[in-house]
């Protein structure tokens, strides 16, 4: 019980500490004296209800309320874990090719299992990417075909097609920007993004 109280007090201190930070910054802009300045910002906060800064701080407050509830906390972390697991899977492709390489196939199976294990209502965006070769339009199409190849494979493995969307980033989303062969290899890939 004491521990909980201590945590609560610490949390309140942290919250108040945080909420003061932006107002102090504002204060230094207006006047040099700290005592006067805090008063001035307090006035500003109450009078300027339409100020954009205010709406940002209320959003933050809402977020903190949600994290206190245990049920929501569990579901958020489960989603995050799922999103992380999805993001950790990267399927690589050969130069100028969009068929799935045999050595990449186990990853597709792993992906299908992962999606089937999580029956919640969500969408997965398959993002096709390319290396720097070729003109942009062809690269985009190549990226899209890479995304579609994995989408088709996932459907064959029993994944609900409604859960899958595809997009191509062409060469606009490189993970590696060095001009070397190991780098180009890393950019010829599919990424998977969780869209709640």
């Amino acid at each position: 019980m004491k521990k909980k109280l201590l945590i609560a007090v610490a949390a309140i201190l942290m919250v108040t500490g945080c909420s003061k930070q932006p107002s102090l910054e504002n204060a230094t802009e207006t006047t040099q004296q700290s005592a006067q300045s805090t008063q001035m910002t307090a006035k500003n906060e109450t009078s300027a209800a339409v100020n954009e800064n205010e709406s940002v701080s209320t959003e933050n407050a809402n977020v903190e309320e949600q994290t206190i509830g245990e049920e929501t906390k569990v579901s958020v972390t489960a989603d995050q874990k799922f999103a992380k697991e999805l993001a950790s899977i990267v399927i690589y492709f050969d130069f100028d090719k969009y068929n799935i390489r045999p050595d990449q196939w186990p990853k597709v199976e792993q992906l299908a299992e992962l999606i089937k294990k999580n029956p919640a209502n969500y969408t997965i965006r398959i993002e096709g990417n390319c290396d720097e070769w070729g003109t942009e339009e062809y690269n985009y199409a190549l990226g899209l075909k890479r995304a579609k190849a994995v989408k088709d494979a996932l459907i064959k493995l029993g994944v609900d097609p409604k859960k899958l969307t595809i997009i191509s980033y062409g060469e606009l989303n490189p993970v590696c920007t060095a001009h070397a062969k190991w780098c180009w290899r890393k950019n010829r890939r599919d990424n998977f993004t969780y869209l709640p």
Partner: protein, 386 residues
């Protein structure tokens, strides 16, 4: 072996003959004298214009006994050009702008007008505006407006991925572009009024490849399958032009009744043509390991081909000019990675992207003059139109 030698000799003779024609052209250039007074940056642009135009035998601020003299004076956002013939003032032209930054366009117009004064071949590239998209960070590409030298630069669209800008009208007031959000969306933006109209959204891929009056050639993939489509802006009618299961992209109008496009239907990307009414599909160039980019003007095609086939090293991409009538082939570049060729509106020049170590350059080929000029760019250019 003898056959090979004969072919080689004929080719060499042909090349030599070509050179002779060029030399003759060079000697007949009109001789002019330029006197410049004003800002050093303005002079720099003037020098570049005359160099790239390559239509005059000129000297700047040095007497060369030319019959024609042009006196340029740039003061306070105003460029004045006096035309003299045998020391007699013939014309005075004044070019003004609201901002200092706009001066490259004043110089370009002044040089364009001198070119017109001598009734030399059109050089519209000087006064055309360039619209381009540039990657500024992963998943962030802005659209900019520039002059052909890319000295003047104005950011038009930012935030997220704004790609594949294309001029929508002859006067260069309206553009099409794709915004890659959750779904790719095609927009039409009027640069004068700022009015933005959403045309449509499509899953996967949405690119405007070419514009001809009210008709657009698009690459779309509503079911994840990239194909070439034609869209009528007025009637709002979409026609699917290709239906191959692989990749069909990058379509361009070629003459009145044909389109050319890039397809991997033979296992590698190659350029094909298709007649609009009969639907006959033909391969247009038998050269290179693959062909990834194409543009068309009149009877001509410019094609970017990969000449090496190395997955793990530098590949060479070169540009070739193809003539529909005699099937002749002319090599336009000789080394490096040259891609994204784009004809100027008068067909006399080709702008393209040259890449080197994750940096890009703009290249301009002056077809009649047989010359290429490059300007560096600090970041990767995603695409452009002029």
């Amino acid at each position: 072996m003898i056959k090979k030698i004969i072919i080689f000799t004929i080719t060499a003779l042909f090349l030599f003959a070509n050179e002779l024609v060029i030399t003759k052209y060079f000697n007949e250039k009109p001789k002019i004298n330029i006197l410049f007074n004003g800002d050093k940056n303005v002079l720099k642009i003037l020098k570049m214009d005359l160099k790239v135009l390559d239509h005059f035998n000129y000297s700047i601020n040095e007497d060369n006994n030319a019959t024609y003299r042009f006196e340029f004076t740039y003061v306070n956002k105003k460029l004045s050009v006096k035309y003299f013939e045998n020391d007699i003032l013939k014309i005075q032209r004044i070019y003004k702008s609201n901002s200092y930054a706009y001066f490259p366009f004043l110089v370009h117009k002044a040089v364009y007008d001198i070119n017109e004064y001598f009734s030399l071949p059109k050089a519209k590239f000087l006064i055309r505006k360039v619209i381009y998209s540039m990657l500024v960070a992963p998943k962030q590409a802005n659209i900019y407006l520039a002059d052909y030298t890319l000295s003047y630069k104005k950011r038009i669209i930012s935030g997220g991925l704004n790609i594949f800008p294309k001029w929508a009208d002859e006067k260069q007031n309206v553009i099409y572009y794709t915004k890659l959000g959750r779904l790719p969306t095609l927009y039409k933006l009027n640069l004068l009024t700022g009015k933005r109209v959403k045309i449509f959204t499509s899953q996967g891929l949405l690119i405007v490849s070419d514009v001809k009056k009210d008709k657009l050639l698009l690459t779309l993939a509503p079911q994840g399958q990239p194909d070439v489509y034609m869209y009528d802006i007025i009637r709002k009618k979409l026609i699917k032009l290709t239906k191959y299961k692989g990749i069909d992209v990058n379509a361009k109008f070629w003459g009145d009744n044909k389109v050319v496009f890039v397809s991997d239907r033979f296992g590698m990307p190659m350029v094909f043509s298709k007649t609009l009414n009969k639907g006959l599909i033909k391969r247009v160039l038998y050269h290179g390991k693959n062909q990834v980019g194409v543009d068309a003007y009149g009877d001509y095609l410019v094609i970017s081909t990969r000449e090496t086939n190395n997955a793990f090293d530098r590949n060479t991409f070169n540009l070739f000019l193809v003539n529909k009538n005699d099937d002749s082939l002319k090599r336009l570049t000789f080394k490096g990675q040259n891609s994204y060729p784009n004809f100027s509106v008068d067909g006399n020049s080709i702008m393209f992207i040259k890449r080197e170590n994750f940096y890009s350059k703009i290249g301009i080929i002056r077809l009649n003059e047989n010359k290429v000029f490059y300007y560096p760019l600090p970041k990767i250019l995603q695409s452009f139109d002029w």
